[in-house]
């Protein structure tokens, strides 16, 4: 541990904070809230009937990207080419059953859960990813898509109706984490409306955040963990007992910008969020479920919809839950979700986003393969640190 920068969050977090000598301010705030009787946090309930059933016997592959546009339409990208043969049986040649067919890769739902748009796949003038990963709708209503196949080294920009606009980087051309023309297996893209800059979580091959001009695609800056120059040397597996890695571990899985200008980066297998200023200055890091191995605990984040973005929602596809975090202190207030295939449960919850009403949407990869909606039910007292499956009260 290298000092007070590291807040350890999780079960027994107060003890951990004391052990690490974190400033008294954090503790004082926690005590003050307790003294008022209860910790307050946003509450959610799954909507088990959202979205509406897909038309045309369509089914989803790994659902590995999620974005909400300015009209509260929900956009997902999934890997239609990875639908199992005995599930996409109607797409076989010859068809072996009446169901099912692979849905197109990009799907747009209205707030009621109706499918209102679909497109995607190879076309003229661009390289469709070999493995789709991440979708974002920017302030100009353009749709960004990344890819994490070993050859994917680019991002794509389309109109909402799927007309190709721009490709940055080229398949098979990645030159590593210090390449200023290509990426390395991009996980997620967001665009800052104030500066028209795109932040790229880069990615499954590279170990950096990259920033480009969202109109021209010109590289502007990039950095690695702690704001260091990224280094692609293999640093082996994550060890929760070792000092924190000085580089990101792949995949760098999200980079999301708050309204107050802080960039939250998901360093997934390192079980941590690193926070930066938009210029790459390191601010702090926070560990989440630090003993989590393998895929890691920090998959994707979204912000609450109040003007202050008081809360941060973190999807953990290994522990199968969404943490509700007080953004100011980065303290986990509570969590919801559990493993399973029923509504409100997860298998590899991968992506998370919020709409204008504060509702949370999630998508699942692996064999989860769902879009789910969790309805915002206002702020209330936290009664359980681990809420499990949040079903509607009948």
């Amino acid at each position: 541990m290298s000092g007070p920068r590291h807040l350890v969050i999780g079960a027994g977090f107060v003890t951990a904070i004391v052990a690490l000598g974190v400033s008294r301010g954090v503790l004082d705030r926690a005590v003050a809230v307790q003294a008022q009787g209860a910790v307050m946090a946003p509450r959610f309930e799954v909507d088990p009937m959202f979205p509406k059933p897909l038309p045309n016997n369509w089914v989803l592959g790994e659902t590995i990207g999620l974005g909400i546009d300015s009209q509260d339409h929900i956009w997902i990208v999934h890997r239609s080419d990875r639908v199992n043969a005995n599930e996409g049986a109607a797409d076989q040649n010859p068809p072996t059953a009446s169901c099912c067919r692979r849905a197109p890769p990009v799907l747009e739902f209205d707030p009621a859960g109706n499918l209102v748009g679909q497109w995607g796949g190879p076309g003229e003038g661009y390289e469709w990813p070999l493995s789709n990963h991440g979708i974002f709708v920017d302030h100009k209503d353009n749709v960004w898509i990344g890819g994490n196949d070993a050859k994917d080294a680019h991002v794509l920009k389309f109109t909402k109706s799927g007309k190709f606009l721009m490709q940055v980087g080229h398949q098979g051309k990645s030159g590593g984490s210090n390449d200023t023309e290509n990426f390395g297996r991009v996980a997620k893209i967001i665009v800052d409306p104030k500066t028209n800059e795109a932040y790229i979580a880069d990615g499954y091959g590279n170990k950096r955040v990259a920033v480009i001009d969202a109109d021209t695609g010109r590289f502007k800056r990039y950095w690695g963990a702690y704001g260091n120059k990224p280094d692609d040397t293999n640093i082996g597996r994550y060890d929760p007992n070792a000092p924190p890695a000085q580089q990101f571990r792949t995949p760098v899985h999200c980079a999301d910008l708050s309204l107050d200008g802080l960039l939250y980066v998901c360093d997934r297998p390192n079980d941590r969020i690193q926070v930066f200023r938009p210029d790459g200055t390191f601010v702090k890091e926070i560990f989440i479920a630090k003993k989590t191995l393998g895929d890691g605990s920090v998959w994707d984040i979204a912000f609450s919809k109040d003007p202050q973005q008081k809360y941060l929602y973190l999807a953990d596809g290994k522990n199968e839950k969404v943490y509700i975090i007080l953004r100011e202190t980065m303290e986990i207030l509570t969590s919801f979700g559990d493993g399973g295939r029923q509504p409100g449960q997860f298998f590899a919850v991968h992506s998370i986003a919020t709409d204008s009403k504060g509702n949370i949407y999630t998508t699942e990869t692996y064999e989860g393969r769902r879009l789910q909606k969790f309805v915002y039910k206002g702020i209330g007292p936290v009664t359980k640190k681990d809420q499990g499956t949040v079903w509607p009260t009948k």
Partner: protein, 397 residues
Amino acid sequence: MAGRDRIATQGRGAAQVPRFQVDPLWPKPLPNHWIFGSITGVAVDAQDHIWVVHRGVDSLNPRTEIGLASDPPSAESCCLPAPFVLEFDQTGAVVGHWGGPGHGYDWPQSPGGIAVDAKGNVWIAAAGPPDLAGGRATSTSEEPGGGAGGQAQGTGRGGRGATPRPQDAHVLKFSRTGAFLLQIGKAGRVEGSDSTTALNRPAAVEVDSAANEVYVADGLGNHRVVVLDSETGAYKRHWGAYGEKPTDAPTAPYDPNAPPSKQFGIVSAVRLAKDGLVYVCDRKNDRIQVFKKDGTFLKEGFVSKTTLGDGAVWDVAFSKDPQQRFLYVADGHDQKVWILVRDTLEVVGSVGAGGRWPGHFYGVGSIAIDSKGNIYTGETYEGKRLQKFVFKGLGPA
């Protein structure tokens, strides 16, 4: 207007068929961060409790799905394989659980169907690893190409690190609390479809409690129905397709345009109607054959006859009216439950579609019904769900 039209339609004699609605919040979330593996059997007992058997750890991905089961755990809070056998009450709460290797019996490499007899004893077929002719590429890796296939689907490895167990060739009988009572057949000992002493990957069982007989869908290895004494396990009789002597000669892959096969393909289920008729699911041949209890062939009916691959007729249940007028056929390849008129074996409707949301299916291979006429389904493959469909009365097809 709509109401008048509906009455007029009925007046013209439109078929009335059972209607169902999925209960998206049933069963209750499992305790202890348990998750289902691929479900291979569902049954309802005399108390309307719902019983499930699933493939457990052998069908769950060690790296991505059951992080709490590894040593050291790779996750902090989820998940663990649920015990192989689970008992739910009507509210959907787990009220019993057991299963796994023990003294005096061979726990299956991979379970098949489950049945609860009139005495409350629980029967489990040892079906062996699933037949995967339909092909699948289980998604175990978020990264393309890397790590896929890490799931030892179909190997029946019996838990990580265990030595492979002999091939399933038996059925097991337990008390409802999981005390071992009887094993018929022996793991690793198979003799073919005319054997009077051995089974070969039996897929499912049904008990005729009044006659003290157990009917075995035998199965994935053999090509027959075999009837045994449910107390002693003694052989009584067996038959193949059309009531003929079964053979194990290789047959051509199912072809919907060819004459019906004279032999069973995969005998995936056998069920007894109240009127004494025996319904046999010949899964890959897309057909149900109906017999008398003595094996006399009565008729056959095809369901979704163009279905190839895994086949359309996986399991069958009867409606709860005294006449059992309807059959419900689980079709894990078309992802539907077909509704048939039992008398004519005519398909009059269906429930379900493919997908991962409530009321959708992926590999719906088991079906059972409670005293109120509600349907319960179990999904294998990566469906891994127990679902309930509430009976909403009869309505126009």
